[in-house]
Amino acid sequence: MTHEFIMAGFGGQGVMLMGQLMSYAGMFDGKHVSWMPSYGPEMRGGTANCSVVVSDQPVASPVVTEPTCAVVMNAPSLDKFAPTVVPGGCLLINSSLVTADPGRDDVKVFKVPANEIANELGNSRVANMVMLGAVAKATGAVPMERVEEALAKKMPARHKHLLDTNLEALRRGAACVE
């Protein structure tokens, strides 16, 4: 089984970290993984996205063009990536910022009010973790414990005090897609 993700949003929404944690979780789970940022001038203007592959097979190309799962954190990303998801794949939408209709009925669509939940948790910056929880759960690409492990191990030391909030964010996200 090969999970191919695109995770996209504004710069600052933490989509890069989200992708890296997914990769770590896959790695801890014994999978082949890769993470790849979009790079270059198109980064400019404040949007950012990354590709993540989690697979039983060695990863061929880390560049995902037809994701099995797209995670869109803002409106421009919906326009850009919703059409690329493979039929039968899934699409996770940050419904706090994205209200438009994805226009796909051949994919599973999950709406996650990530910013609202983050705000409820008292830290607007954990919206990405809310989403990550939802992604892990919705796709089953990696067990939730591995995501938690990744978070615990890879969170920068200076943010360690936020670990609990982040873990809680993961769980709240996962809960959204149950």
């Binding site: 890296q20 990769s23 993984v33 993470w35 790849m36 790079y39």
Partner: protein, 356 residues
């Protein structure tokens, strides 16, 4: 063995250089390799080395010349247009027989092109983009891990043969994160370099680093001597991997990023009953001509998968004899999809397509 971590290719190659004993880096920013100088600017400071952002690629390669001539383990890194600017300097370094490591994270060309991955600098790397008869030893890693291993080794190899070594990768390997393990232990030590210009002290003979002899006969002598070294390197440094070639009707030839895609397509082909194998040169100079020559007796055809309009294919054809060689290229920054490579395999094995 150390811990497995996820690391970006560009940072991994930089860290690997440090482990390989590299203490000097001269470079200039260019996408998609800028994380190499960036990482070096932090890490070399920590280990007591020197990072210097040069005013240009031309200056950078000449700083490498100076530092290498002064006995250091030294590296530079760039991407296609920047590497083109280094051509004169690389020819000088090869001619003066100075060891160093040069990273090329190839991007789509020609011209300013794109910043996406490509493999269209193959000829430049393997045949000599600079003037004169010279060769670089060229490693072609296919993963972040392999890049690490090869880079660490590259410094020893460069010193051993007093020859520049190139790490030929691309934006894909440079930008991606993959699990990687660094070997435990100390950084590799620098080598004894009695020929280096470190000041005469009480040495009787001066050390002189030069790439010139105004006398043609003497310059030919130098060429012969270097050529002998190349023969030695050809024997000693060749690296390649073969996969499922034993019974293969069609043998893919691919290196670096493309080999990942080729492997994926090949797996699918095997699943579907096609007898497909893979030769993956890990050094593209020296090149595994003999391996391909041997396989040419058995295989019905070769297919080169490369992000270029057709460069690797020439080396394969040089070895393939009468066996047809097909080429499937993407370029300008476009990466093959495994699916299209698979289709190409099917097409060839079902008798379609024309060998190039």
């Amino acid at each position: 063995m150390g811990e497995t971590i996820l690391m970006k290719g560009n940072e991994a190659v930089a860290e690997a250089a440090i482990r390989g004993g590299c203490r000097f880096f001269f470079g200039y920013p260019i996408t998609p390799q800028s994380e190499v100088p960036e990482y070096m600017s932090r890490r070399l400071h920590e280990v007591g080395g020197v990072f210097l952002q040069a005013e240009s690629e031309v200056a950078a390669i000449n700083m490498v010349y100076g530092a290498s001539g002064a006995g250091a383990r030294v590296m530079t890194s760039s991407s296609s247009p920047g590497i083109s600017l280094k051509m004169e300097g690389i020819s000088y370094i090869a001619a003066a027989e100075l060891p160093c490591v040069i990273v090329n994270m190839v991007r789509g060309g020609p011209g300013l092109g794109t910043i996406q991955p490509a493999q269209s600098d193959y000829f430049q790397a393997t045949k000599g983009g600079g003037h004169g008869d010279y060769h670089l030893i060229v490693f072609a890693p296919q993963s972040v891990q392999e890049m690490v291993d090869m880079t660490i080794e590259a410094f020893d190899v460069a010193d051993k043969y007093r020859n520049p070594v190139m790490i030929l990768a691309d934006g894909l390997i440079g930008q991606m994160m993959e699990p990687v393990v660094f070997p435990d232990g100390e950084d590799r030590p620098n080598t004894e370099k009695p020929w280096a210009t470190v000041g005469m002290g009480d040495r009787a003979e001066r050390n002189i680093v030069t790439s010139m002899d105004l006398n043609a006969e003497a310059m030919e002598e130098i060429n012969w001597r270097i050529q002998e070294k190349y023969d030695k390197i050809t024997k000693e440094m060749l690296r390649y991997e073969t996969l499922d070639t034993e019974d293969a009707d069609l043998i893919l030839v691919a290196y670096g990023s493309s080999a990942r895609i080729a492997l994926n397509a090949m797996s699918k082909a095997r699943e579907n009953g096609y007898k497909v194998g893979l030769v993956r040169p890990q050094t593209v100079w020296p090149f595994p001509y003999e391996v391909i020559k041997d396989l040419a007796n058995q295989a019905k055809a070769f297919l080169t998968v490369e992000m270029s309009m057709g460069q690797l294919i020439e080396d394969v054809k040089l070895a393939a004899g009468e066996t047809p060689v097909y080429h499937f290229g993407r370029c300008g920054g476009v990466i093959h999809s495994p699916a299209e490579v698979y289709e190409k395999i099917e097409e060839i094995l079902n008798g379609g397509g024309a060998a190039k």
